[in-house]
């Protein structure tokens, strides 16, 4: 029986939000697949600090490497690093998040291990099979990985955050024989959503759909509401296609999969591919003038009516109260 390797993403030493879900999934997978040791690993500047933090969540061992080849994420060095660890530490299962980094990285790891890859898993079943969405969210499928080594990525929003539970784990620095291939390099990175929270980590999201009717009304209605409650801004595919909002605001299976505490959908009818993207939100509120809109069936609270009356009134009602909460959050 082999060990379970978990790849942890971090930014300058602080673990990504997905890590807490990854810890839960790792424990479930270890027991479902009867793995021996649970090993965490992280690469790049600050990875020693990230490894220390990860030990609080029940890893037997955390490996880190601050070698400069890992300064920026690139698929070739990162996959080679993970493959070397698998070999040296006897890991035949590798687990990570289905983030943009994970989606980019894990196929290369799987190929190196001749392993099958189960991507974007939302549930680990008792019988050890893995559940994921197919057909743009219209189907849930249970699958098995038949190869000897197995690689799994999880949709982190579908797994609970783990509680701290330190065991006698240890961290260790490793030296990986990974040379820069010179075949690819990162030129630059531009952060999106100036000043507003990032969709993927936002506590609150206000999204607009085709019902807004124009880019002016999208901005005139959605922006004030979002800013009033400190929310990120999202959009349905229809709104993006109509040019009301940029592509990277799209929420849904083909856009971003989000997991806020509060999701307010304004003028969104609720295509399945959009609903798939908001499935993990804690509270969903729908505002739409069509009471037959499918989004109402999957919402916690619905308001039927003209959004151009409802949204301004909502902004007015929310004034004040949220500022108090914002102060508390600081």
């Amino acid at each position: 029986m082999g060990n379970l390797l978990v790849f942890l993403e971090h930014e300058q030493g602080s673990l990504s939000k997905s890590s807490l879900s990854l810890f839960s999934a790792a424990k479930m997978l270890r027991s479902a697949w009867k793995k021996d040791t649970m090993i965490g690993t992280c690469f790049g500047q600050g990875s020693e600090a990230a490894a220390s933090n990860a030990l609080d969540y029940g890893f037997d061992l955390c490996l880190f490497s601050e070698q400069s080849v890992f300064d920026r994420y690139l698929s070739i060095p990162y996959s080679l690093g993970l493959l070397q660890i698998c070999k040296e530490e006897g890991c035949d299962v590798v687990l990570g998040a289905a983030s943009s980094t994970g989606k980019d990285l894990f196929p290369r790891v799987a190929l190196g291990l001749s392993a099958g890859l189960a991507s974007d898993i939302v549930e680990i079943n008792d019988d050890g099979s893995l559940r994921r969405f197919m057909y743009s969210g219209n189907v849930l499928a249970d699958m098995e990985v038949c190869s000897q080594c197995r690689v799994v990525t999880i949709r982190s929003s579908a797994f609970p955050a783990a509680d701290k539970k330190r065991i006698n784990g240890d961290k260790r620095e490793i030296r990986l024989v990974v040379e820069t291939s010179g075949k690819s390099e990162v030129v630059s990175f531009t952060r999106s959503q100036n000043g507003r929270p990032d969709l993927l980590s936002a506590e609150r999201i206000v999204s607009g759909g085709r019902g807004l009717g124009s880019i002016e009304d999208f901005e005139g209605q959605i922006f004030p509401l979002a800013d009033e409650i400190g929310a990120a801004i999202g959009a349905s595919r229809a709104a993006v296609d109509s040019g009301f909002a940029p592509n990277d605001w799209q929420v849904g299976l083909t856009g971003k999969i989000v997991s806020p505490e509060l999701y307010i959908g304004v003028g969104i009818s609720g295509a399945v591919q959009h609903l798939t993207g908001i499935r993990d939100a804690k509270i969903i509120v729908a505002i739409n003038d069509d009471e037959e809109a499918p989004i109402f069936k999957v919402s916690d609270y619905g308001l039927v009516g003209n959004l151009f009356d409802i949204v301004p009134e909502l902004v007015k009602e929310l004034k004040g109260s949220v500022e108090t909460k914002a102060v508390n959050m600081d």
Partner: protein, 249 residues
Amino acid sequence: MDILVCVKSVLDYEAPIRLLENQCGVDSRLMKSVINPYDEIAVEEAVRLKESGHAHEVVAVTIGPKKAQSQLRHAMAMGVDRGILVVCEGYVDSDLAARALAVVCAQEACDLILMGKQAVDSNANQTGQLLAAKLNIPQACFASKIDVNRGFAIVEREVDGGVETVKVTLPAVITADLKLNSPRRPDLGSIIKAKKRLLKIVGIDDLGIDIKAKTKIIRMIPPSWQRRGQQLQSVQELVNVLRQEANVI
């Protein structure tokens, strides 16, 4: 420069999906097949690179059933020069697709391989990366902009939290995201011309690879959406429940 563009034939994603009663798969009997929309974007990009003088020949390849010829013809109608169909009537997972594509890539000796970031049926988002790894070449996934130069490409990638620009040496695999372009609708003339283009058909058994998939689908079920679905009467009521009941404001 020669471009290989990989396309997948998928069930019409705009039609409702129905499951078979034995939960083993999707009922495809009454459904038509279309080109995977992300692959269609990759085809468009390849054709544009040819039109702008960056590419010499554009070849489209698909792994799939015999009837997937229609999707290759569609790619040709968009401007692809010729097509290759690797016939496999059984279940093809991303790993098998990538290993089959790697054989075709070796035969075609192309400088750039384009495909969609994922297929809308499997939603796996793996094949491009697996292929790059198999060929031991770099990858640039989720591309929203591609600039091809002599021997390298500058690619803007849609990643969590923003846009990353990478430089990859060629040959490389680049996978297309939605924002890359809007694919053209071929006119009747192009559709007729496409029928005369070369379409090579080979069997997957002839590629000399192990054709066993590494993953298996056990069952399929419809997703459930359990929410309270409470209709409220006023904005005031909404604000109250959000504050007091849900405690999210």
